[in-house]
Amino acid sequence: MPALRVRALEKRYGRTEALAGVDVEVGDGELFGLLGPNGAGKSTLVKIACGLVRPTRGDAEICGVPAGSAGARRSLGYLAELFRFPGWASADEVLSLHQRLSGSSGGAVEREELLELVGLAYARNIRVEAMSKGMQQRLGIAQALVGFPPLLLLDEPTSALDPAGRRTVRKLLEELRGRGISVLLNSHLLSEIELVCDRVAILRDGRVVAAGAPDELARPRGVEIETDDGLVHFDGGREDAARAVAELVAAGRKVYRVDVRRSTLEEIYLEAVGE
């Protein structure tokens, strides 16, 4: 049973069509990236999945139960794009509140583990109002992980983080994959998605315009060979590289470097969204 299954999902806000029949499935322990320009419907999809927004048509299921139901909410952790915790609460108090609301019995041990995971072990008793934006973002991720639910929905989890913070989150996501936790990651940072996600879906105008593993989506961009006469470009893919090198050597060229080029996720994305 997939952690998240979305079928023919539609959402209208008045005359605006935010989602126009989206199908997405996130498997167990899978890291799934959701990409798309602003207004493509990514956040709406995530909000429907966690029950904050009601779909106009279609359905969404979390671990086999309808999204928005108590059962579905018990199976997910959510980090909103824009969120805030009460300034008067310490990191420990925020996690404790969410443990009690989610029915987690992890207690202090779980809270310590969560703070350790997001690199906030030192900030246990620091109040939210005294935390930097990056620290609050990390605390938000820790909050989403309370009870270690089978599905994590992260909406722009690294938007307020510096490069070191982003690396911490990447490592964390890989660790979560190791624990069998599924993650739906909604981010504008393509390089980040490319580095960690098993599969991606690209949304445009509320529709999925491309989906699959980054490697599957990538197309051959030719073979680039550095010779004593400069760079030589051949059309074709990996299988054509040996022939191209042989031809150059036969023509008396010295070959220094061979680069089999494939499109990056950024190129795939820009093609898919038509820019």
């Binding site: 806000y13 909000k47 966690c50 029950g51 904050l52 927004v53 009601r54 108590a70 059962g71 909410r73 018990r74 997910l76 959510y78 909103a80 824009l82 969120f83 805030r84 915790f85 009460p86 008067w88 509140l97 969410h98 009690r100 609301l101 989610s102 029915g103 938000g140 909050q143």
Partner: protein, 284 residues
């Protein structure tokens, strides 16, 4: 039940740590000090007044009048507190991003609303009870006068503030905090105007005005509760003292009858039901 207590406790802690609570504490202290001074000098001067013997009980007239005014101040301060604690519970907290992390937890939106209402009531009711009890005690100490009924008027004031909290919580689903605050204060003002209208209607012997006033006071029953509470503190007072009292702020005192409690319970239930249905359909 655990979730209700957790969220109510969260609301309570948030309320106690907000700056508005400190402002209310300062205002309340200032009010009680001024009330103590006022009653002290009033009753002091009363010893020099010689009303027509047997026609008017000047101590009751002064005591009931100042306590009536204190009850209005208590209601007003309680209403300010109730509104500030509830005006942004849904749209305000959603806009600030405080609500979403709570709503996605498996507690249910109705539970969340109910718990936030209980949290607000848990602050407002003890507050109103304290200010009312302090006003009664100050009147007794300075003027040796106690109201005919002591407990019921206090309970009615607290219930009136709870009604306002429910209206404000309901409004918070549809309106932004500023708009909601303004709207609920206007509803509160409309209730008070209804009381004055009733007084004018009574003086002019206009049954239409009186009916409008009664309808308005019951439509938002905090006013009917306040009028009944006012009536309660001089329930056993009669004769010319009663007439003299009705010329002052006590003109608005009215007996509500046995159905007020039932109507208040039904009103709270109605507010809760509409709020739960509207919140369940809200996109956050």
């Amino acid at each position: 039940m655990t979730a209700v207590l957790v969220i109510a406790g969260y609301g309570l802690r948030e309320a106690l740590r907000r700056r508005v609570f400190a402002v209310v504490v300062v205002l309340t202290t200032a009010f009680l000090v001024l009330f103590w001074l006022g009653t002290h000098y009033l009753f002091d001067h009363l010893n020099n007044v010689s009303p027509p013997s047997g026609e008017i009980d000047s101590r009751t007239l002064v005591g009931a009048t100042v306590l009536g005014l204190a009850m209005f101040a208590t209601l007003f301060l309680g209403v300010v507190l109730a509104i500030f604690l509830t005006l942004g519970v849904v749209r305000g907290d959603a806009e600030r991003g405080l609500l979403q992390p709570l709503v996605v937890r498996p507690v249910g939106r109705t539970t969340l609303l109910g718990a936030r209402f209980l949290g607000a009531v848990a602050v407002c009711v003890p507050y109103v009870a304290f200010v009312y009890a302090a006003a009664v005690a100050i009147t007794d100490v300075n003027g040796s006068w106690t109201p005919d009924r002591i407990v019921l008027p206090g309970v009615e004031l607290a219930a009136g503030v709870s009604v306002i909290a429910a209206i404000s919580l309901l409004g918070s689903i549809f309106l932004t905090p500023t708009a909601n605050g303004i709207a609920v204060f206007m509803v509160f003002g409309a209730g008070l105007i209804a009381g004055l209208l009733g007084q004018i209607g009574h003086a002019l012997n206009s049954h239409t005005l009186e009916r409008i006033a009664t309808f308005t006071a019951w439509a938002a029953p905090f006013e009917a509760l306040y009028e009944d509470a006012l009536h309660g503190i001089t329930v056993n007072t009669g004769g010319f003292t009663r007439v003299a009292l009705s010329l002052g702020p006590f003109g608005g005192a009215r007996v509500a009858g046995p159905f007020l409690g039932l109507w208040v319970a039904a009103f709270l239930l109605l507010c809760g039901t509409i709020a739960a249905l509207a919140f369940a359909r809200s996109d956050l």
